[in-house]
């Protein structure tokens, strides 16, 4: 007994020690070889892998490899075909005349001018009762204008969009003589296209939805008036011979099904608002599908970059089934097939031998979750992951180390300080411009971003084709700032703090915790403002609290935040005055009727030059108004070990191009499916 206990007390720890040493030796020197796979490190984990529900970038890293959309952005950020071979965008415009006779007269007039049709982009026209329907070869608000100019203005009826803000799910209207269309819009309400004088209907509606109540906050009103109803449509020709990962063929039915899922109440897709203006999706034949829109919405084509789902696997499945099944085990058409998801650990994909552009070179792609920023860098240094999105200060070290390649480009995002324009402090545009000149943005870029950022000059990041290159950024000029503040009535008191009517210029600047850059920006800005006599209190809250308690309730003085934008130009939800409500994105309450008009215009034109004109003006107006203090557009950066990968991609003529990985406008990973490991011979 004595020796038994004694021995055990010695032998058991010895055993543990031996096991530890053995495992150490194996990890350090074991006989192993590198696998032909790409490991990507990520700080966060995907919430699910269903491309129409997931919202995180981590999820899209996976779903981008597993799925295809109808269209995609090419390396220069222009749209190109993916599952769609090609497409055409046309438009039906309906003009309402005061009588059927006038409509027939109009069509006779058009028939007489047939030689002009090509110039008018008109392919055909028809009359139906009071309506004259024009089928146009191109979409855009300005296309039918020339044709409409042929007719007497007094012979036509206007079309008004009437909006009812209500939470009611079922509202009954009869589409007929005076109502052309009814649709529910994602921002909680119904919209009606009313032909002719909207007043009688409005009065009727105001009786039905009398006062702002719990369920309806705004009385019905006309939000838009137009000369006609414009309905663009897209005809997609699909790529033949594409197969899902389970071998079934991909067809137009899948596109129609995906649209239904995007709109489904039960699925509640966060991308729904992009598809709400769709009137119908029509399958013409297995490889042709037509999408008709209710209104002009120029980002409509890019919205079809959304992943297409397999109808044969998902149709008729109850919503509860999705969560445990498809959302975690996606099946797509993409270059990689999903294999397994080890929670909080990794997602593994293997190559799709049957991919329509040919199989990728890599056997597998693994996305690893490593939440700690230090650990993720350590795992890169032991070559356990091949790249991750590196922070600015760390990139500095890698840039100067010849063993690494650093990739960096401007990201489609920007950081800003949003002023709550409902607060008296920030009412005066002079004050906001003064604040913009009081912050040393260059210093922020130099010391917080280590030069890996650019001063932001408004709402569009500079690499977008619609961004205005002619805007001059506010320069750091505290003298001018002080001058402007004096002018606006904020005089320095004896304690050095500015005040007006006895009220000191002091406010709370809030942001979320766990974001180093925002914290540092807040600290620096606090210090810059102190110098010109403005007292700032910096507070940081957990993300959940920050958003729901302050931002969504519009209950804050100023926030440090950033926007991550897509590649399309529509920023209606951030800047439209209709969105200056709690829980919407215009939480700074920016209201400018000119901006509202331009936002509409940018949505309703399809021509690049016209979109550009509207966007340039938008950016100029908003930058001048300074509802935000635009800080910087940061770089998206990544590091890789040298000589680990190269690109070998088809040149489109049956041959191959071999080149090193390079940065493109769409990121250095643009050709990821053609990456090839070049270090497989090496022992790890």
């Amino acid at each position: 007994m004595v020796t038994w206990i004694k021995r055990f007390l010695v032998l058991f720890p010895m055993f543990l020690l031996v096991l530890s040493v053995a495992s150490f030796l194996v990890v350090k020197n074991g006989s192993r070889k590198r696998v032909n796979q790409l490991s990507i490190g990520s700080g966060a984990e995907a919430e699910n892998l269903n491309p129409i529900i997931a919202t995180t970038t981590t999820a899209s890293e996976v779903t981008d490899l597993v799925f295809n959309g109808l269209v995609k952005y090419d390396e220069n950020l222009d749209l190109t075909g993916d599952l769609a071979k090609d497409w055409s965008i046309t438009q039906d415009s309906t003009i309402f005349f005061k009588s059927p006779d006038l409509a027939s007269a109009a069509i006779r007039k058009l028939d007489a001018a047939r030689s002009q049709w090509a110039a008018w982009k008109l392919s055909s026209a028809e009359a139906s009762g009071e309506r004259l329907i024009l089928h146009l070869n191109e979409a855009g608000a300005s296309i039918p204008e020339k044709i409409q100019a042929l007719f007497e203005k007094s012979s036509m009826k206007m079309v008004s969009v009437v909006r009812i803000d209500t939470k009611e799910q079922k509202v009954s209207f009869t589409v007929g003589e005076n109502i052309a269309e009814v649709w529910q819009d994602g921002t909680l309400g119904w919209e009606l296209a009313v032909i002719g004088d909207p007043q009688p209907l409005l009065e009727d509606l105001r009786k039905r939805f009398p006062q702002p109540t719990k369920d309806s906050f705004v009385t019905p009103s006309v939000v838009q008036t137009a000369d006609r109803l414009d309905e663009p449509e897209i005809l997609f020709h699909l790529r033949p011979g594409v197969r899902w990962h389970d071998g079934q063929p991909f067809t137009a039915g899948d596109v129609e099904f995906t649209y239904r899922m995007l709109m489904s109440e039960e699925i509640a897709s966060p991308r729904r608002s992009d598809y709400e203006l769709i009137k119908k999706v029509e399958v013409i034949d297995p490889l042709t599908v037509k999408v008709v829109y209710r209104r002009l919405f120029s980002p409509c084509l890019s919205s079809w970059g959304t992943a297409i789902l397999p109808k044969h696997l998902l149709d008729e499945k109850p919503s509860a089934w999705w969560a445990e099944n498809y959302n975690r085990k996606p099946v797509g058409t993409g270059p990689f097939k999903f294999v397994e998801w080890k929670v909080n650990n990794y997602v593994r994909l293997v190559k799709n031998e049957d991919y329509f552009e040919g199989p990728p070179h890599l056997d597998a792609v693994v996305l690893r979750t490593i939440p700690d920023p230090v650990s993720i860098r350590l795992s890169f240094e032991t070559r356990e992951i091949d790249y991750w999105s590196v922070e600015p200060f760390a990139v500095e070290k890698f840039k100067h180390d010849f063993r690494f390649d650093v990739y960096s480009r401007l990201s489609p995002s920007y950081n800003y300080i949003g002023w709550n324009l409902n607060r008296d402090l920030f009412e005066d545009v002079r004050v906001r411009q003064a604040l913009a000149q009081a912050v040393d943005v260059q210093k922020i870029i130099q010391f917080i971003y280590y030069g890996n950022a650019e001063q932001s000059r408004g709402i569009f990041p500079p690499m977008m084709w619609f961004a205005n290159p002619n805007i001059r950024a506010f320069e750091y000029n505290p003298k001018n700032a002080e001058h402007l503040l004096d002018e606006a009535g904020w005089k320095k008191g004896p304690d050095g703090v500015r005040a007006k009517d006895g009220k000191p210029f002091a406010f709370k600047l809030i942001t979320n915790n766990n974001n180093e850059e925002r914290k540092d920006i807040a600290t620096l800005v606090q210090n810059d403002f102190k110098k010109i006599g403005i007292q700032v209190d910096v507070l940081m809250y957990e993300w959940a609290v920050f958003i729901t308690k302050f931002v969504n309730k519009m209950d804050f003085d100023a926030v440090v935040l950033g926007w991550s934008l897509g590649y399309d130009h529509d920023q209606y939800q951030i800047w439209s005055s209709t969105q200056a409500k709690p829980e919407r994105l215009n939480f700074v309450s920016y209201k400018n009727s000119q901006v509202d008009h331009l936002l509409d215009q940018a949505r309703s034109e399809f021509d690049r030059e016209k979109i550009k004109a509207a966007c340039w003006e938008l950016q100029k107006l908003i930058y001048g108004d300074q509802p935000y203090l635009f800080i910087d557009v940061p770089d998206a950066m990544a590091v890789m070990w040298k000589n680990t990968f190269q690109v070998r991609r088809p040149d489109g003529k049956g041959g191959w191009i071999t080149e090193p990985i390079r940065e493109t406008k769409a990121g250095f990973r643009y050709y990821m499916i053609w990456w090839e490991r070049t270090d497989l011979g090496n022992r790890s």
């Binding site: 990890v27 984990e45 929670v343």
Partner: protein, 320 residues
């Protein structure tokens, strides 16, 4: 003893109810709501938000929400508000990894803590004991995120071995034994960090308990009778002083499922702590309430087992 156990079980049930109400109330007081995934996303429509709120009964009064959560939980239907997956499943898929890690940590605590404590007691008040005491407190005083980083950086930067996750990545081993040892290594390092304070506490506990036994009359008598001191120590003293240690088996239960957010995050280990942390930051009430309740159940059962074991190994104690 039977009535004791039954009474304890009944009291535990009442306690569990109170705990579930309190934890639900505390969580509900937290600002932030559970609709996080759609916050500040320009593409999410208001209708989708409303849908979500209805689906998780977030528009209902609190007591109804509590009722829904509890009935769903015991019906096994409770869904996470983050990804609509069953909560039981989410906990279940992390269970094996958590068990493995905590088992290794417990082995280290017992394997090193007990011998250390015994050694310290044998050398009581000599420099070896004082030295040991000093280091025991150093171990306890070390913030575990700090020691995690120190170990991480040392092993990766200077020894250049992989330590994160559950196994080395991007490589395959020819020999399955090597694969096993690789996995063990990935448990050992976070396990050591988790156990480091525990080893020291355990050694203090064993030391104190042994010293107490050594002061008992029967040991003095045995010594006075002229028995060999080593025999007295190992046979008489140690057996009795390790008794309270055996009862710690009861506390193993909650410890096995124990969680550390910080260590799991730093070592990228897929355990229960990260589930709780994610649930907290995302306001995933169903998961949080379940985790709290599971934790409480384990503590209560563990305590019960400890009490019963205590009575079993120590005939002087009677449960009433």
């Amino acid at each position: 003893m039977g009535t004791f156990i039954i009474r304890r079980l009944l009291i535990s049930l009442v306690l569990l109810f109170v705990i579930s109400v309190i934890s639900f109330a505390i969580l509900k007081l937290t600002p932030g709501g559970s609709q996080l995934w759609f916050q500040l996303n320009p593409k999410i429509s208001q209708a989708a938000k409303e849908n979500f709120i209805r689906k998780y009964h977030l528009d209902r009064p609190l007591y109804e929400q509590y009722y829904f959560i509890m009935t769903d939980l015991f019906g096994g239907r409770l869904l996470s508000s983050k990804d609509a997956r069953p909560v039981i499943g989410k906990i279940g898929e992390r269970l094996p990894a958590t068990l493995r890690l905590n088992l290794v940590a417990l082995l280290l605590e017992f394997g090193f803590g007990i011998p250390w404590g015994v050694y310290a007691a044998r050398n009581w008040n000599m420099w070896k004991d004082r030295f040991g005491t000093f280091w025991a407190f150093v171990f306890i005083a070390m913030p575990n995120f700090w020691i995690s980083y120190v170990i991480c950086i040392f092993l990766v930067k200077y020894v250049n071995v992989a330590i994160l996750g559950t196994s080395s990545f991007g490589v395959i081993y020819a020999n399955p034994m090597e694969g096993f040892l690789d996995h063990f290594w990935h448990l050992l390092i976070p396990g050591t960090v988790l156990a480091i304070g525990g080893i020291a506490s355990m050694s203090r506990y064993v030391r104190a308990s042994t010293l107490e036994t050594l002061g008992e009359d029967y040991i003095r008598t045995a010594r006075a009778k002229g028995l060999d001191p080593t025999t007295v120590f190992y046979k008489h003293a140690l057996r009795n002083s390790l008794r309270p240690v055996i009862t710690m088996v009861g506390y193993l239960l909650p410890a096995l499922l124990g969680a550390s957010v910080i260590v799991e995050s730093i070592f990228a280990y897929p355990g229960m702590g990260r589930l709780g942390w994610e649930a907290l930051t995302e306001r995933d009430y169903p998961v949080l309430v379940t985790l709290n309740l599971v934790g409480a159940v384990l503590v209560l059962i563990g305590n019960l087992i400890a009490d019963v074991l205590y009575a079993v190994v120590d005939p002087r104690i009677r449960l009433e």
